[in-house]
């Protein structure tokens, strides 16, 4: 079976991709924290008040 034709990234491309991945990860973590904190700030303890 023939070897699959793939793209070989240069070192610079690999480094740029790694940095972009880290940045996207950090942005997602920041968004989670922002919406968690904002939910508490906006609703306070009332966030737990819901019909069971």
């Amino acid at each position: 079976m023939d070897k699959l034709e793939t793209v070989d990234l240069t070192e610079q491309q690999k480094k740029a991709r790694r940095l972009r991945s880290v940045a996207i990860g950090l942005a997602l973590v920041a968004l989670v924290i922002i919406f968690y904190v904002a939910t508490l700030a906006k609703f306070g303890p009332a966030v737990l008040n819901r019909p069971m």
Binding site: T10, Q12, Q13, A16, I34, A38, K42
Partner: protein, 313 residues
């Protein structure tokens, strides 16, 4: 069989991105963003009433990201002219590190995210104003006015004038005369600020085919218009004190700054057509940055002191 074999598919050459996060941050125009953040903070802090500090922080973040998104959309559309201007040639899109499509996608995603965040977590009036500001900057200014009329930055300046009003709306849920005055200060400040720059960078704008005032109406007319706007700006800067919104502290500072602006503009008015160094225009450009920063800082300081005094009473 033959049908398929005869078809030649022109595939675009595979391009692997070398863009770093720094390139994407550059798309957000951080320096413009810092001014937007600063003026939005002033609007938010100076507004009456109190706001949950965490929600205030999120509001400012959303306004900053919205401003950055409009910067990315601007760089997507303007890549062709950015390429020929010395000031902008190294931006990520003209330099080839980010494709126009990537800049467009980045700008659109951040626009939606910032407007929705502000709307859901703060209020929909401020979110609507932010959405309008992004639309105004990206579509009305960048796509329409910038390449069409020398009044581009006069009308387009409205986009940069909205942030204090958005901050105010985020804190209070409405728009008042005070926030309109903050809007007007930036609106009237923008033309002399950019025309001072355009005077000594007119070659750049001419190469790019941008109809800036010095290239269209000539340097003499531009200098007269700079002076006229300075005469309008100075009293509007003092208006918050005249209308009783601030104390004498702000009144004195705004008077001195306004007089300084008129003085530097007067020097620009007196420049000759064959002045190649254009020192007065460069000085006015520098002073205009100081003017905006100090007048807004004074306004915020004045309101903060009044608020703290009210708490102590």
């Amino acid at each position: 069989m033959a049908l398929i074999d005869d078809r030649c598919i022109d595939e675009a050459p595979l391009r692997m991105s070398e863009a770093t996060p720094g390139d994407y941050i550059a798309l957000l125009k951080p320096r413009v963003m810092s001014l937007v953040v600063f003026t939005a903070v002033v609007g938010l802090v100076a507004a009456p009433g109190t706001m949950n500090p965490l929600l205030a922080l999120i509001a400012i973040l959303a306004i900053a990201i919205g401003a950055g998104a409009s910067g990315a959309l601007n760089m997507w559309y303007d890549a062709d002219i950015d390429k020929v201007m010395s000031r902008t040639a190294k931006r990520p899109v003209p330099a080839g590190r980010v494709t126009p499509g990537e800049a467009l996608g980045f700008g659109l995603v951040l626009s939606v995210l910032s407007v929705m965040t502000l709307g859901v977590l703060v209020n929909w009036l401020s979110a609507s104003l932010l959405a309008f500001t992004i639309f105004f900057y990206a579509v009305i200014y960048t796509m329409w006015l910038k390449r069409w009329t020398p009044q581009n930055i006069v009308i387009g300046g409205a986009a940069g004038s909205f942030p204090p009003m958005i901050g105010w709306a985020a804190a209070t849920g409405n728009i008042s005369l005070e926030s309109v005055i903050l809007f007007l200060i930036i609106f009237l400040w923008t033309p002399p600020h950019f025309w001072a720059l355009a005077l000594f960078k007119s070659g750049d704008y001419e190469r790019a085919g941008i109809p800036m005032m010095p290239n269209v109406a000539g340097p003499a007319s531009t200098r007269r218009q700079i002076f006229a706007y300075a005469l309008l700006l100075a009293p509007v800067g003092v208006a918050p004190w005249l209308l009783g919104y601030t104390t004498l502290f702000y009144g004195v500072i705004s008077l001195v700054l306004g007089a300084g602006f008129v003085w530097y503009s007067w020097k620009v008015l007196g420049m000759s057509d064959d002045d190649k160094t254009m020192v007065p225009a460069k000085k006015l450009f520098g002073f205009s940055l100081v003017y905006l920063f100090v007048i807004f800082a004074a306004y915020m300081g004045d309101r903060l002191v009044a608020w703290l005094g009210g708490m102590g009473a």
